[in-house]
Amino acid sequence: MSNILLKTEHITMQFGGVVAVDDLNIEIPEGKITALIGPNGAGKTTAFNVITGGYQATNGRVTFDGHVIGENYPRSKMKKIYNGTYKTLNERQVINTPDKITRLGMARTFQNIRLFKDLSVFENVLIARHCHIKAGMLRSTFKLNAAEELMMNQEADKLLHTVDLHMHRDEKASSLPYGKQRKLEIARALATGPKLLLLDEPAAGMNPKETEELALFIQEIKDSFSLTIFLIEHHMNLVMDISDKIYVLDYGKTIAQGTATEVQNDPAVIRAYLGVEEA
């Protein structure tokens, strides 16, 4: 039995009157690859944003590595218009900004690549190591932390070698071809030294061959960096190939969970993706 690295309990996200995510309860086992799939607009990226601290959940709790990193319950205005299935866990609030959560060991990539466009490939990765810096501003400015600085540079270089992007080291990030930009974004997330890596549609815009390479890539980095992976994806081949566990979302609700085979044969899933046959 694997240790559960990330757990969400009754996570509900409501914007105004619309419930984007309703009563999400997932468990992400350590060292495995878990996937979140569902039709467009099902609430997958919203769930990611809640887990990483970008949004504060309307209701529910997120626990990472044994610590509660986010918790909320419907208050003031939301109390009256709350439409979620599950009512209030308990009346407690825990708020963490995304940077804090990243420093705790969770990193992510974005659906629409968000690289630091005008900076070099190397700088993109190097900046991701800044969150672990020990020196303060003055020490860093006066170069009194030379050893630490050297180490950061070496780690960034090593990472670029590992993901095979080192030949583009000093090029501008925006000048890379699309597939390599996606890889760079993953490398950048890796540079923060995470235990859990969240990938938001890493195969978007890729052809089947590239998708296959990506699948191998994900498995390689999972092993070399001892990661747990949580991914959102539309490419069914990628998901079914590498995932150990799959959750299916539709209109914000979890309609199925299980292994690839179990999910593929679930009638609710088939209905959500293919629609109901006319009688």
Partner: protein, 291 residues
């Protein structure tokens, strides 16, 4: 008591002028997400236009000329300084607006010199009326009424006409409006035209009470009117009007109480408090950014 009411009256008159100018800011921001730093200076130029128009033409003609020239100038500024930067990062277009403001101020200093020029008296406007114990000039009474009338007309335009609907569409979603076939350039020009026209009217009402124009007469009122627009909810027309009146009245009362140096600072303090407490303003709507 009467003094307070008297000051309130003056405040309402000032507020009306502010309201008209604030509408210009709120309209442009709603459509282009741009703080038109030059708007206050368009208002100032309108003041100068009137001075010269009245020197050569009878007053009805002069008013029309001033308003037309101001409107054309507003449209021209947009085409020349903002349109080329529509796809540039936000900072660039704001710097351009600041640049236009800078240019207008320096141009005015060069052409008209920095010495205050007397604003001519329009007949009837300065005639004093008495209501009970209060006395006010005609322009003081006219301003709020005219403002309300103009705002009502504008709201009808925005809510009931096709152009108005297009304006609302563009302010909600620029890209999609373009895809739906709306002629963005035309809508933007119309927006600037309306804003400049109202600023022109506002300038007539404002300067009639003020007596003189300098090249820097537009800076502070401009900023204050932007605050008024934020206060009422940026992008919201009735909100801008409420904001304009609010700031006009408070400012007048502060000066009457002897805190004139702080009357300007008060407006900015209000801005900062608004931005902290309720950035969407009194009547504004929240915008959630999707990751």
């Amino acid at each position: 008591m009467t003094t307070i009411l008297q000051h309130c009256l003056t405040g309402i008159s000032l507020g009306g002028a502010y309201a008209l100018i604030a509408i210009g800011y709120t309209l442009v921001y709603g459509i282009l997400r741009l703080i038109n730093f030059a708007h206050g200076d368009i208002f100032m130029m309108a003041g100068y236009f009137m001075i010269f128009a009245l020197a050569s033409f009878p007053w009805p003609v002069a008013i029309i000329i001033t308003l037309v020239v101001t409107t054309v100038m507003g449209i021209g500024i947009e085409k020349f300084a903002y349109k080329p930067l529509r796809n540039a990062p936000r900072m660039s277009i704001m710097i351009s607006a600041i640049g236009v403001s800078y240019l207008l101020q320096n141009l005015s200093t060069y052409v008209f010199t920095a010495i205050p020029r007397g604003y001519p008296e329009l007949p009837y406007l300065k005639r004093i009326f008495r209501i009970g114990e209060l006395s006010a000039s005609f322009v003081t009474l006219l301003t709020p009424i005219l403002t309300i009338v103009l705002v009502v007309i504008l709201m009808i335009l925005v809510n009931k006409t096709k152009t108005g609907m297009a304006m609302r569409a563009v302010s909600k979603d620029f890209e999609t409006a373009k895809l739906m076939g709306i002629n963005i350039d035309r809508i933007v020009s119309v927006t600037f035209a309306i804003g400049s026209l109202l600023a022109g009217i506002g300038s007539i009402l404002y300067f009639t009470d003020r007596m003189s124009v300098t090249p820097f007469s537009g800076t502070l009122p401009g900023l204050k009117c932007f605050v008024a627009a934020v206060f009422g909810g940026i992008g919201n027309i009735p909100g801008a009007v409420v904001g304009g009146f609010f700031i006009g009245i408070v400012e007048t009362l502060l000066i009457a109480l002897g805190y004139s140096t702080f009357s300007d600072a008060f407006t900015f303090l209000l801005l900062i408090i608004m931005l902290l407490v309720k950035p969407t303003g009194l009547f504004g709507e929240k915008n959630v950014e999707k990751v």
